[in-house]
Amino acid sequence: MVPVPAEQPTQKPVTVRRRWTEHGLVFIAPFFLTYALFLLWPLVSGIGMSLRSDNITGEGGEFVGFDNYTEAFRDPHVWSSLGNTIWFTVLSTVPLVVTGLVLALLSHHLRFVQWLWRLSWFAPFLLPSGVIGLLFLWVIFPSDFGFADQLLAWFGLHPGIGWLTDERYAMLSIVAATVWWTVGFNFLLYLAALQSIPRHLYEAAELDGAGAWQRLRHVTLPLLKRTTGVVLVLQILASLKIFDQVYIMTGGGPDDSTRPILQYVYQSGFTGYRIGYASAVSYLFFALIVIVSLVQLRFSRRSGESA
């Protein structure tokens, strides 16, 4: 799961001289062509595919109308894997946002070796998902000899937990790995926002007799509201797109208990060869993501107005 690069919603529309020039066209052409070729065209042809019984070879399929969609609605695997995706999103979003904020506050206020905090909290984010998956699969989470068990053993607790092989812990383990891996991104956004809060507000608050807690409660947090909105949207979207870690660490198991919907799309299409059906499932999921984004957008716009 790679978080979406932040397209910071521009606060006040920047005034641009709206005049087409040949130069402008030349400048946007490479982007637009790439965009059309690799995003718009697949988007459209994917809809076409989802209405056909195409197999992986791309031939021999027939037009089946909405059959794939009705099948998807009745398919318990779609619902269970969608449930897993949503459960993962719920479990991961809160700690990712809160931890990001806490780490940013710590890093902002700790005055010594600041670069070390920033580096160590952001560094995991730079690792590719394959490295993360294998790291947790082979080093942290093996039963009996993994680091996680070792850590518990130091506290005299009974080790031997099936971190990734037990339905009760597998999803939580993936969440833990994900939080460690991606929290750096949210941390960075929060840190930037913290640094843009004018110092004089704190000074004024202090003169009014506000303690550290009150300054945090009444100055810092309200001014971070907009950033929190952005972080939340990006995080939910990123969490919904979970695939890599699960694919590597549990393969969706044990007994499909961690299989996210994107893995089901992958399995329908590449193990099951049913490209048409896989497209239909992925469009249903796409629709869900669009709905979530729209709700978020409206919500954050409203809260932005009232703030």
Partner: protein
């Protein structure tokens, strides 16, 4: 084009940590020097099998300087089959490839695969009567031979000879004493557990794409005489009473602590390698792993715990992926290659597989292979999946049922709940039309060159 190197070139594609999703390039186009038939060969063998196959490929290339062999090793499992299918659909497939026999039904014979010319094979010294009938028959679709089996890789029982000796489970000859029935097997596991303090048996019970729970079920269920699908692979034939008996047996193994409850595949290998566990159930292909580790072990057929001595298995087979314009020369080279491989399958058997080419099984150099030759008789009692598009190694059925039966072993599903879920999933697979329209009768079936090929073959 410059001069072609004389020796074969291999493109080894080793996915990082086994994760590369078949990002493999096709065999780069290159053309043999004058008169040299180009033979591209795709296979999915890694590890010990990969090393064995490479040695065989090199030996073949040396003996056949007139054939320009290019062997490509691809990532096992789903990535391999995705790639092979797409190459065949595009008509630009390699000349010869490896396929799991139980996947043949779903692999578009007549469309993605071209048939073999049995006359040509006969001239090269390979005939249908040199294979176990049932296995050779599985390579046939609509009267044409689409797959030539190379081996059988059944589930076998590995046993630690030190532990078993201490537990008094070995006979005077140092071999495991025959185990008759499930009760005797569980007694043996209890004795082993008392001896070492560790569960007597280990096998993969969970983990990514775990299929061993399915293979355990298929083995014992077939021993009761049950089949999962009807013989034509079109209807559900699961016998509730028999299936439940097996699932309850599986649940008991872990519930009573006789079998390690939660092990992923590498974990199960590691536990058996650690030397305290008496038994390990798995395919025979790990023989080189344990030999290399210096473990005191031997292997035998899975004992007949429920009547018949069958074991779940699949077979590696050679196929001719569909090409739009298969040339005579290349076709002959492919047949030559297949015949040569079969006739040299003693070397292949070193990796644990039981050769399907019967003359090999009586050769002295094969019989000398220990413990490989000890379970060769299993070849007459292998239970392959019924022919269905969703069956066979790394297939949707294996992965889906593997997950369900994993729950029985780990204790998260009851046997009856697992049976219900297994039937539900099987029904869904049966209701889903074969996406590759397998068989020449399918709507997308292009009869293509297959007709012509048979004609050419007959003339050759």
């Amino acid at each position: 084009m410059t001069d072609e190197p004389r020796l074969s070139r291999r493109k080894l594609l080793v996915g990082t940590g086994g994760l590369a999703l078949g990002a493999a390039g096709c065999a780069a186009p290159s053309f043999g020097a004058e008169g040299k038939a180009r033979l591209r060969y795709w296979h999915l063998f890694g590890g010990g099998d990969g090393a064995n196959m490479t040695a065989l490929v090199d030996a073949f290339a040396e003996e056949h300087p007139d054939i320009g062999l290019e062997a490509t090793q691809l990532q096992w499992g789903t990535p391999y089959y995705t790639k092979l299918g797409m190459a065949g659909a595009g008509g630009r497939a390699p000349e010869v490839a490896v396929l799991h026999l139980a996947r043949l039904a779903g692999f578009g014979p007549g469309r993605l695969l071209d048939p073999f010319d049995l006359n040509l094979l006969r001239e090269l010294g390979v005939g249908a009567d040199q294979f176990p009938e049932a296995i050779f028959e599985r390579g046939t679709v609509d009267g044409r031979q689409y797959a030539i089996p190379l081996d059988t890789h059944p589930m076998v029982l590995y046993y630690n000879t030190d532990v078993c000796a201490k537990a008094g489970l070995l006979g005077d000859d140092g071999q495991l004493r025959p185990v008759r029935g499930a009760r005797e097997f569980m007694d043996a596991l209890r004795t082993a557990k008392k001896t070492t303090g560790a569960p007597g048996l280990c096998a993969e019970t969970t983990g990514p794409d775990c299929v061993t729970p399915w293979r355990l079920f298929a083995t014992f269920y077939a021993q009761l005489g049950g089949t999962v699908l009807s013989p034509d692979g079109k209807r559900l034939a699961l016998d509730d009473a028999k299936a439940l008996e097996i699932l309850e047996f599986m649940a008991r193994l872990t519930a009573e602590g006789l079998m390690a409850r939660r092990l992923d595949y590498p974990g199960s290998i590691g536990v058996f390698n650690a030397g305290k566990t008496a038994f390990h159930l798995n395919g025979e292909w790990e023989v080189s792993t344990f030999t290399a580790a210096g473990l005191p072990f031997s292997m035998t057929r899975v004992p007949a715990l429920f009547g018949r001595p069958t074991a779940q298995a699949d077979c590696h087979a050679f196929v001719l992926p569909h090409q739009d314009g298969r040339s005579d020369g290349a076709n002959e080279a492919a047949h030559t290659f297949v015949a040569w491989m079969l006739q040299h399958s003693v070397d292949w058997a070193k990796g644990g597989h039981v050769p399907a080419y019967l003359p090999t099984l009586t050769r002295p150099d094969y019989l000398e292979l220990e413990p490989q030759s000890a379970y060769r008789s299993v070849i007459d009692d292998v239970a392959l999946d019924q022919p269905a598009w969703f069956a066979g190694s790394a297939s949707p059925m294996w992965i889906q049922l593997g997950a369900v039966f994993s729950g029985v072993l780990t204790g998260s599903r009851t046997p009856s709940g697992a049976l219900r879920e297994a039937k539900k999933r099987l029904r869904k697979l049966l209701d889903t039309p074969d996406p590759l329209d397998s068989g020449p009768g399918g709507p997308g079936g292009r009869a293509l060159g297959s007709e012509a090929l048979v004609g050419e073959g007959g003339a050759a």
